[in-house]
Amino acid sequence: MKLDDAVLPILYMLAAMGFILAIKWMNSPATARRGVVVGEIGMALAVIGTLLRFEVVNYEWIFVAFFLGTAVGIPIAYIMPMTAVPQRTAFSHACGALASALIGTAEYYKGLDQSGAGVSKVVMVALIVETLLGFLTFTASMMAFGKLQEVLPQRPIVYKGQNFVNLGIFAAAAGIGLALVVSPGQTFLFPIFAVLALLFGILLIIPIGGADMPTVIALLNSYAGLSASAMGFVLNNKLLIVAGALDGSSGFILSIIMCRAMNRSFTNVLFGAFGQLQTTSAAAGEAKPVHSATPEDAAQILDSARSVVVIPGYGMAVAQAQHKLREMYDILTRRGVEVRFAIHPVAGRMPGHMNVLLAEADIPYDKLWEMDDINPEMANVDVALIIGANDVVNPGAETDPNSPISGMPIIQAYKARTVMVIKRSMNPGFAGIDNDLYYRDNTLMLFGDAKSFLSSIVKEAGALAKV
């Protein structure tokens, strides 16, 4: 059975509607799962419709690829621990981008074979955009994956003239791309173009530090979508254009939100090499005295508090401390303490990272507060408990105009009556920025691994609860 030309556009249109509704329903956790279902239906309609097109006659290769993709995809989705979600996201951006780039490459050579003169200028522009974004997003995402998985060093690597080298390579790739648009018959240029795009992707991520990962992942998400959209122009397929544009705008907005939450510009994130500037002031901080406390002290203070706000950061994810946190939440809630969680937009390694981890530990999502909502209440909070977060609570962002994070909106933990910080040691955080909060009189440092320290607190607080 082959599909009639009149039926196919309707299937594609229904698929596009499914995608739009899927994203619309993501605005609330109550409807979000329904969104996934319509998204799946949309995808199924698109795939079935395409398989039944009269141009498609050879099915063996397609089905083998379907089988393999499913066989690999299902275990990835179910076995992957939630702490590895940023890596998986980077990896899937890489897969999606590579798929676009490969299709673009094949379309280029196919266009040459068929008409000799190559394809029209407009299609060629779209094809160059598709492959350029595809190839550079592929290597950039693999680099991001490597950094998140800690296969590659997480610290940014910078050298003199880096930005000139990067921009030079990008300009060369774009220039050759333009030459291919003008004369598509110059086949020898295409491999050079592809290699330059791949190389640019690698170089782009080398100077990016872990703290900037949320912005960069969102940006790569956007590029992968735009590449798919460009493919829609090549194939003259509106469904691809719409789906790609939705993904492209989504990633773009998320990266704007992330930039805003750090008070930085795109150019600053991509070319600023955060984390290299601050070695001097960090060294100066070592001599200052701090107050530290034991788990017993901490449990007592928490137990006698009325209102506690927990501020988690990437350190909580690294220590896998979210489940212990949930136990502490249970004990304190039973004792009548109000426990809330304050989430900074860039806490963790991707947008929304902390929310997913806390949800995994069964912490109800109505206890998760956004920065702008919790800040006005911080002055009435008895205890601010900071777990593995650093820059997002650094008061220097508000007071010190020379701080590299000056102007970045923070969660105002310092306003709480008592501040407790679970931290491995006094080493400055990832960005190497000294944090004045640790030396204040109302701050107690709880030195240790987040997970084991929390379990000691849970034990002590549990004992208190029995008395």
Binding site: K24, R33, G69, C95, L246, N355, D362
Partner: protein
């Protein structure tokens, strides 16, 4: 109106629709949102199928198309499943056992 002009209009409108829709998504769900849009952008599977299934496809087309179908299906399957797995974890107070 030429096809490409029409396509540009579609792109422009879809991008604006995307901006409006994404802005109303709560930061709570930004991670599942990203994995959902990633699964959606694996719609490139359409292009990959057309390439691989053609009658007179060259060997190069077949190999590249086959790899692209594999990669896109991988993203579709793992993307939707992991999004749902994440969303299942978001519970309100009182709904948990």
């Amino acid at each position: 109106m030429g096809t490409y002009e029409f396509d540009l209009w579609v792109f422009m409108l879809a991008a604006f629709l995307g901006f409006q829709l994404i802005r109303s998504v709560s930061p709570l769900l930004h991670t599942p949102l990203m994995s959902l849009t990633n699964a959606i952008s694996a719609i490139t599977v359409v292009g990959a199928i057309l390439l691989t299934g053609e009658q007179h496809a060259s060997t190069l087309s077949r190999i590249l198309g086959f790899s692209a179908v594999f990669l896109a299906v991988l993203n579709v399957v793992s993307g939707y499943l992991i999004t749902d797995r994440m969303l299942k974890m978001f519970k309100r107070r009182g709904t948990e056992k």
